[in-house]
């Protein structure tokens, strides 16, 4: 039983420390809009990493089918019936304490392409999101703005 107590105490300390050091990274949590205004992305934290899912689409219906848009450009055929609304297009970001969330990926549903991605917070309401291939120089930066949900 003493061994369990020691493990529990050590684990508790570890998780508390992890929680405290990751608070700064939590500034990214919230609702964001890419510069083209076509979607709204909710960034949340799952475990120690940050993810962003599509929660709103300017044009939610597929013009051809008049049904909710699906991830039909995904190179993985098994994913092509997954609805875009709710789709996690930002994945696996880790905060590195330099105002930067990195080691993540961004998915472009319009092309079905997945890119490496790094996020910089310019100010508390503005993100520079850079998708790239291989090295950061081979990429493109988009500016996202923070949104606030109006209470009903």
């Amino acid at each position: 039983m003493k061994t369990f107590k020691k493990i529990f105490a050590t684990s508790l300390l570890f998780f508390l420390l992890t929680s405290l050091t990751s608070d700064e990274g939590d500034r990214i949590i919230g609702l964001w809009e890419p510069s083209n205004g076509k979607a709204r992305i909710k960034i949340e934290k799952i475990g120690s990493k940050y993810y962003g899912k599509i929660v709103w689409l300017k044009e939610p219906l597929d013009a051809a089918t008049n049904a909710p848009k699906l991830d039909k450009n995904n190179p993985d055929e098994s994913m092509r019936n997954v609805p875009l609304k709710g789709y996690r297009m930002l994945k696996d970001f880790i905060y590195n304490e330099k105002n930067e969330w990195k080691e993540g990926t961004i998915y472009d549903p319009e092309s079905g392409s997945l890119y490496s991605c790094v996020i910089n917070m310019k100010d508390e309401n503005t993100l520079d999101i850079r998708g790239y291939i291989g090295v950061k120089a081979l990429g493109r930066t988009d500016v996202w703005k923070r949104l606030m949900v109006n209470k009903k």
């Binding site: 510069s35 709204r40 799952i46 990493k49 929660v55 696996d92 291939i133 923070r146």
Partner: protein
């Protein structure tokens, strides 16, 4: 035991293993009604439309024209096209072609501005099967062409969106063309400059058009011509056009996101200095311009690596030559009367080009 359960609870709380799944069905309607916490970001139109062929960052290709005939005149003064009596030398060419390298790196790539700078290198080698001469030929231009034609250049593209719908596109390039080798390059005094400036609109994700003016060597000699861009993708996203008239125009067929085909044409040309027939006061420049009618297949190989195969017919538009005083170029246009120094001819030829490319996000 309860410590064990508590540990498990902590593990689940911090685990990433459920990152792709939501256990709760979310009500997305709450995100319909929002306000900006700061200011809304200014919306700029994207440089691309849906399903355009992928833009290339780095490209390595091999281009080969199949057998055809080259006929050249003596150096002199000519105002008309080549007549049988003017032919001084003929060469049966087994193959004309070589390596084409291209790199295009984004210096700035943001939604408010895109600026790219790149390098290109083209090698055109001539393999002669048979040559016939009309009497004694001094200063043979075929000897000069057989040394191979090289193009090495810098290019830059600036895309500036003005707002959600309008944009400006500026392209400039400087090329050093001639029968020089990289080990022994010709002087930068013989750089040839091209440019295009366009203003356009992007009314939707499936259409963009622009009009403008260009200074171009695509017909062999320097010319100023209006240009018209029209890129369009059908609502089914299976068909489209990629047009920058008159430089190139293609119909695009998308089989799936990893396989597509283009059918159309491209004008290719440059003004090449033949160094052995030039001196410090006069530069003999071969005005090579050709029309390439072609089909191109593009296939995603893996990741951002694409392959391409081009098959087509090369029609000769110009293979004449001009003497340029002090190497300074001049404008003849389509209707100028200035005489040519040589009037040569190339018969048409089938050609192919195979390439591998690192493409842009």
């Amino acid at each position: 035991m309860r410590y064990f359960f508590l540990l498990c609870l902590f593990w689940f709380q911090n685990s990433d293993s459920f990152a792709q799944q939501d256990s709760i069905v979310e009500d997305f309607s709450e995100y319909d009604n929002v306000t900006y916490t700061d200011t809304k970001s200014k919306v700029f139109c994207n440089p691309k439309i849906l399903d355009l062929i992928p833009q290339r960052f780095v490209s390595v290709a091999f281009d080969a024209q199949l057998p055809h005939t080259l006929s050249v005149s003596e150096i002199g003064k000519y105002s008309t096209s080549l007549k049988e009596g003017d032919i001084n030398e003929k060469a049966e060419l087994n193959y004309v072609g070589g390596l084409r390298l291209f790199a295009n790196i984004p210096v700035i790539s943001k939604n408010s501005i895109v600026w790219q700078v790149g390098l290109n290198y083209w090698d055109v080698n001539y393999q002669v099967k048979d040559r016939t001469k009309n009497g004694a030929v001094s200063n043979s231009s075929i000897d000069e062409i057989q040394k191979g034609l090289t193009t090495a250049g810098l290019h830059s593209t600036l895309y500036k969106p003005l707002n959600e719908k309008q944009f400006i596109l500026l392209q400039v390039s400087a090329d050093l063309n001639g029968n020089y080798s990289i080990a022994n390059p010709q002087s930068l005094n013989y750089l040839r400059y091209s440019a295009a400036l366009l203003w356009g609109k992007r009314p939707s994700d499936r259409k963009q058009w622009a009009i403008g003016i260009s200074r171009t060597y695509r017909v062999g000699e320097m010319n100023y011509i209006p240009v018209f861009m029209f890129n369009w993708t059908s609502s089914s996203r299976k068909w489209g056009t990629e047009i920058l008239f008159p430089a190139r125009a293609h119909v695009r067929k998308k089989f799936n996101p990893s396989n597509l085909m283009l059918i159309g044409y491209e004008l290719e040309g440059q003004s090449y200095r033949l160094n052995g027939l030039s001196d410090q006061n006069r530069s003999l420049e071969l005005r090579r311009g050709e029309l390439r009618l072609r089909t191109e297949f593009q296939k995603k190989l893996f990741g951002f690596i694409w392959g391409s195969l081009q098959l087509g017919y090369r029609h000769n538009y110009s293979y004449k030559a001009d003497y340029l005083d002090d190497g300074n170029d001049f404008y003849r246009g389509f209707f100028g009367k200035r005489e040519y120094a040589m009037i040569n001819n190339l018969t048409g030829a089938m050609y192919f080009q195979i390439g591998i490319h690192l493409v842009s996000p």
